[in-house]
Amino acid sequence: MARFLVRRLLVMIAMLFAISLVTFLLFIVALPNGNPAAMIAGRLANPAEVHLISVRYGFDKPIWVQYVKTMANIFEGKAYSYQSGFNVLAEIGAGFPTTLSLTLGAGIIWLLTSILVGTLAAIKAGRYTDRVLTVLSMVGVSMPVFFLGAVLIYFLGYQEGIIPLSGYVPITQSPTQWLWHLVAPWFTLSVLFIGIYSRILRSTILDTINDDFVRTARAKGLSERQVLVRHILRNSLIPILSLWGLDLAQVIGGGAILTESVYNLHGVGYLAYQAIGRIDTVTLMSVVMLTALAVVVLGALTEIVYAFLDPRIRLQ
């Protein structure tokens, strides 16, 4: 176990380093035409000013010095956007409650709904209910997030006035308003994942439903309900839960960018969306990198937790 743990942590650290390096190279070297100083100085600057800025920001230093300095700035919270002058970490922090409200709510909704839908479809496999649920999950998988959002905003917002058109209200300010503003975004973000997860769960349940241990459980005289909940679901939920951890890490880190921009929720994804518009490299780089790092760390954590629970994984 100790060896597994050390090896897994070493791989994780190597991955973190690789991701930070790739992101840095992608943004700093490729993006602002190799000359960020000229970009900051603006169109009317003379070469002396550009040089001054270049020295002040350290763009004249070798690339690896810049790398170390950039990383130190980001993690110490001293990175500032070249365009707006705002502290990037503070901006991410400001958007974080919105994103967390959106993604945690949606994450719980899509996990519970897909467990219900997937189990129902598996129990009724081949029958009418299963067919309808399969079609629905297919539609969910095929639905572009921003189109679904626009349709909901138009019909439920403009036409019926049931949901607010956009925006976010903090839960500390008014819990009911918070809920009212988030219902449609939660639904929009969940639909795709419900489609994917329920189909995966359906097939894993159908895979385990004929296993020996299930037959034993039935032979012991357990009720169908106990067999389903204690024996089948317990085994079938493992792949879903590990997927859920990774997907949640991605949407928390800005992966919910489409939902946030169509509902005008000023979260982390929206920050990235705006940063793209004004080619704000520092902000975008920070968001992209922190997200990827979160995914790697959470992925490693899930694997370690599973290795504790299931010794077979350690041996691989």
């Binding site: 997030v145 921003f146 939902t259 968001v287 997200t291 990827a292």
Partner: protein, 354 residues
């Protein structure tokens, strides 16, 4: 055989296993002359697919959409008499004998007229014909989808083959690189790469073109396909027929191409429609975020994002391209699902984020 095996010890004289006995009793050795002709895996799959009429109908629907989009120039020339980029803000259109503004004085475009001719499906905010743009945009969306899918499949197959076949160091390097790509959310990575190509250019790409968008989308999805292919190659390379080929002295490339690749074919075929659906969706998403297809090029993504700006006055500009997009993606998905059931019921694909 086992009964006469001297190494078999105590069980030498026990009865053969029950299933052999049963087989001997119930099935006399079949007469060779009456054996049905051999059925290959693909004709079996085709039989299964033919029974699944729902997925065939949806496959046909997708083909119909493709054909309609390919006929866009004909529709534009002979029916609508208007080009995809022709703006017409001040003009009028004849609806049931009455001349109506294409775009009203307060900037609201006309809705669907349902008269074959110009503005069958209404106009957008610039007075362009929605039906014509829908077909031309569909061509671009489908082109991007197809190119991106081909790129993903080719590169992912190569990565998966090399990593799974050579294992060890090669596998380590390829798998770690794929892990790095995989750690970025699809849309954030797509946005970043799209912006890099747009602002800076990379190699042959300067500015955003249809091809650069397709390349970005194709690149982003490589790990999602390469990982399952690698896992399958890992299982295949230890099979007897690969050993046999190796002992005949065949080279690595030859073994990969003639022994392993044919066995991957069904997996690759299963992935193609699912990737196509994903690529079309991703194009629309990236375009909505501003890093995909750029105006004046039409695509379903550009039409929807232009339309969203015009909510609530002209909702048909969102609804029509949106429904078309959903219909196209849904038909590919349903067909791909049927194809998977027919070819390889246990294959699993990981779908895109958001």
């Amino acid at each position: 055989m086992a009964i006469f095996d001297p190494n078999d010890g105590g069980s030498s004289f026990s009865a053969p296993p029950a299933e052999f006995l049963l087989a001997d009793v119930e099935e006399p050795p079949p007469d060779v002359g009456e054996l049905p002709p051999g059925v290959g895996p693909y004709s079996l799959a085709w039989r299964r697919l033919r029974r699944n009429w729902v997925s065939l109908v949806f496959g046909g629907l997708f083909l119909l959409i493709v054909v309609l989009c390919l006929l866009a120039p004909l529709y534009s020339h002979y029916v609508a008499h208007i080009g995809p980029d022709t703006q017409n803000i001040t003009g009028t259109v004849n609806v049931g004998g009455k001349a109506e503004d294409v775009v009203s004085l307060i900037g609201i475009p006309i809705g669907p007229t349902w008269h074959l001719g110009p503005y069958f499906l209404g106009a957008d905010a610039e007075g362009r014909d929605v039906a014509v743009r829908l077909l031309y945009g569909g061509r671009n969306s489908l082109e991007i989808g197809v190119v991106a899918t081909l790129l993903t499949m080719v590169l992912a197959t190569i990565c998966g083959l090399l990593a799974g076949y050579f294992r060890g160091f090669t596998d380590g390097v390829i798998s770690r690189v794929l892990d790095v790509i995989w750690a970025y959310p699809v849309y954030l990575l797509g946005l970043t790469l799209g912006t890099v190509l747009e602002v800076h250019g990379l190699g042959p790409f300067h500015g955003t073109t249809l091809l650069s968008t397709a390349v970005v989308i194709g690149f982003v999805y490589i790990p999602y396909v390469a990982k399952p292919i690698r896992a399958q190659v890992l299982a295949l390379r230890d099979r007897e027929f690969v050993d046999a080929a190796r002992q005949q002295g065949l080279g690595h490339v030859r073994i990969m191409a003639t022994e392993i690749l044919p066995n991957l074919a069904s997996t690759i075929i299963v992935f193609i429609p699912l990737m196509l659906a994903n690529a079309i969706l991703t194009e629309a998403g990236l375009t909505y975020l501003g890093a995909g297809v750029q105006p004046p090029n039409a695509s379903w993504g550009t039409m929807i994002s232009d339309g969203i700006a015009g909510i609530p006055a002209a909702f048909h500009n969102v609804l029509i391209p949106g429904l078309m997009l959903v219909l196209a993606v849904l038909s590919v998905n349903v067909f791909g699902d049927g194809l998977r059931d027919a070819l390889d019921p246990r294959a699993k694909i990981r779908l895109a984020k958001e």
